[in-house]
Subunit: 142 residues, 2 copies
DNA sequence: GCTTGAACCTCTATCTGCTGTAGCTTGCAT
DNA sequence: ATGCAAGCTACAGCAGATAGAGGTTCAAGC
């Protein structure tokens, strides 16, 4: 029987985060000692590792929920898991594209700045006047 | 005198967002009509445009606050604004790097999946076992 | 068996950057 | 004078945790 701190150490997850995952139903409710402390089995550790690893790959908690369901029902087709992963891949690719456009714009901005006074600062000027942008960037956020 | 809806339309910012920017002190407190409605000058529009444009380039509200301060005090050196922009560029570059690692891993994952049953699904297998990863990806988040 | 203190517990608040809703009031055109 | 779009405040909620207060439990050492 493993204490929450052990899971925390072995997966690199904050204790509060593990409790949070339980609260939102991502982790099963843990068994308790007579004193009310959570105790886990190895399978819980595996599940937490799965969650963490998926998070590291950028999957949303909702996607992870789906992936866990699939993992719990090994008779189904793999297609579903595959499509979730493809969707995630697509999202990552889109984000990269967007960030590369930002990078280009930022590079141009700092390259043109010659360290003069704020009054003629290129950085601030570009920010002030959207029309100076080379690229379109209408979305906000990553 | 411009109503909040006009600012909203002309900058593509939701009305609530403008009020939110006022609440957090990013926009100055707007003048009011006798009935309590906000009224703006052109300079407020410019400020909002600056904020929005900076957001589109991925700057945090805190960074934007600094940039606005600099913009309001044109006697200072440009160096500060430059360094904020460089910091932002650096962050964007880091995020791109990280996402590219994720992309690689996800690609490998979906490429190896041959649509069999969940029991031998490569996607789920990789997620289950971190040791199968080629890349290190210890941070979570973008 | 007793004491100590690290680790656990719950509950609540906080973060970023908004967005949405409810229920009401104002402003402007007709 | 009236109708109604657009404004107002206040509060709740989203993801995905993280932090702190204030209290309890567990296990090791004596």
């Amino acid at each position: 029987m493993l204490a929450i701190g052990t899971l925390s150490r072995r997966t690199g997850t904050k204790v509060q985060t593990i409790r949070y995952y339980e609260e939102i139903g991502l982790m099963n409710e843990a068994g308790r000692t007579s004193g009310g402390q959570r105790r886990y089995f190895e399978k819980d550790l595996d599940r937490l590792a799965f969650i963490r690893h998926s998070r590291q790959l950028g999957f949303s908690l909702d996607s992870i929920r789906e992936l866990l369901d699939l993992s719990d029902n090994p008779s189904q087709s793999c297609a579903e898991a595959d499509s979730i992963a493809r969707r995630q891949l697509h999202q990552v690719e889109q984000r990269i594209k967007r960030l590369q456009a930002l990078k280009k714009e930022l590079k141009r901005m700092v390259a043109e700045c010659d360290g003069d006074s704020v009054a003629e600062c290129k950085v601030l000027e570009v920010l002030r006047d959207h029309a100076e942008c080379l690229t379109e960037h209408d979305e906000i956020g990553a």
